[in-house]
């Protein structure tokens, strides 16, 4: 896999269009999903995803061939999302991601649960949100998250635990747990 990625990168550096399209095709879906969940806005996620790939190809020569490509690209995406969020905080209020998405079928219990989870995730502070999204929604291990966010693994674990507790507390307050048994005598 690493040699395959190294060969792909080498071809990209030679300017082969097929290799460029192949690399974009391999990662752009997941990068877009991460950006969309972190930024909570589809159009912003599209712009940031494009910026991420422009930056990836600009600094492709600095990629360490000994390491897998995905965490490196994910780290660039995290940094771009951070920058985008800091810039967005200075701008006027934007349309919410959930309102920006197309209208779906009528909500059922699971849809309400998903919406509450999304809302709880968006209330997290940025670092906690990134860690939670990467771990629970994109299945990244602690080590890769730590590498992408340039933080120690212990810090990532602490942030994730706090993020979970905050989300659990919100879901509990929003009545997402209806059936809790009574204490046994």
């Amino acid at each position: 896999m690493a040699s395959d990625e190294a060969e792909l990168v080498r071809r990209c550096l030679r300017g082969e269009q097929d290799a460029v399209k192949s690399l974009v095709d391999r990662f752009y879906g997941e990068i877009f999903a991460v950006c969309a969940r972190i930024l909570n806005h589809r159009h912003d996620a599209e712009d940031v995803t494009q910026e991420v790939f422009l930056r990836v190809f600009r600094s492709l020569r600095r990629w360490d061939k000994q390491r897998p490509l995905k965490p490196w690209i994910m780290g660039i995406a995290i940094n771009r999302c951070r920058t985008w969020m800091s810039q967005r905080a200075k701008r006027p209020e934007l349309i919410d991601y959930l309102q920006d998405t197309a209208a779906g079928p009528p909500e059922d219990d699971s849809a309400e649960l998903r919406r509450e989870i999304d809302a709880a995730i968006q209330e997290l502070r940025a670092d906690y949100r990134m860690v939670f999204v990467l771990f629970h929604q994109h299945g990244q291990p602690y080590e890769e998250i730590a590498s992408a966010m340039d933080r120690p693994v212990g810090t990532i674990k602490t942030w994730l635990h706090r993020a979970r507790l905050e989300i659990l507390e919100r879901l509990r307050l929003r009545g997402m747990v209806s059936e809790v048994g009574h204490e046994l005598p």
Partner: protein
Amino acid sequence: MNCLDCRELVQRLMDGDLSAEDRSALEAHVTVCHACRELQAVAKRLLEGLRLQVMPAPPDSLKQRISHAVLVQSRRHIGFRRLVFAGAMAASIAAVLTAGFFWKSGTGKQNNSGLAIHSVPLDKPKPSPSINQSVEEAGKAVLAMTRRAADETVGQSRMLLPQILPETPATGIPEIEPLLEQPSRSLREIQTGMTAALEPVTSSARRAMDLFWRELQPREPSNKRGS
């Protein structure tokens, strides 16, 4: 197990890293603790909701858009690198030409000044610009100038010598060496002359001393005879 341990097990449950033994301990605790039972129930609900979530799908045009932007950037980057390379090459060539021009003009000035200074001994142009040859030529020029100055000095001295030592008549001593030898002959003659001149004086003095001595001699025997 207390509630703090139970919260840790809930975290491990959400990590997907809960062993069967820990699961049994957790279940045993939540049967007697309402708060921990509620926490476990919310955690399970959260995991259920996360499994139901779908990954946001990118629009169809995004891939084409990204690929196009990347290729445009690559072309610009390659063009910029070529421009930088061409600029560097042009600058290098210009630097070499400028250095050559100044080198050549500096060498011409050196020749002109050399001709002006060493017009007599160095009338030939310097053929070689190398340092060793230049030093060698400079040494030769200094040597030539020294020889020339020495020759001029000797020539002028030879020209001035007759004025300092006027010529003697033909009857006189024609050369310096006989003039220098003349005092030695005169002294010998003087010595011989003086010896000859003093000879009568010395003989008269000797005769007078003999007479005086003779007059003193007879008195002494008479006195001895009388005593």
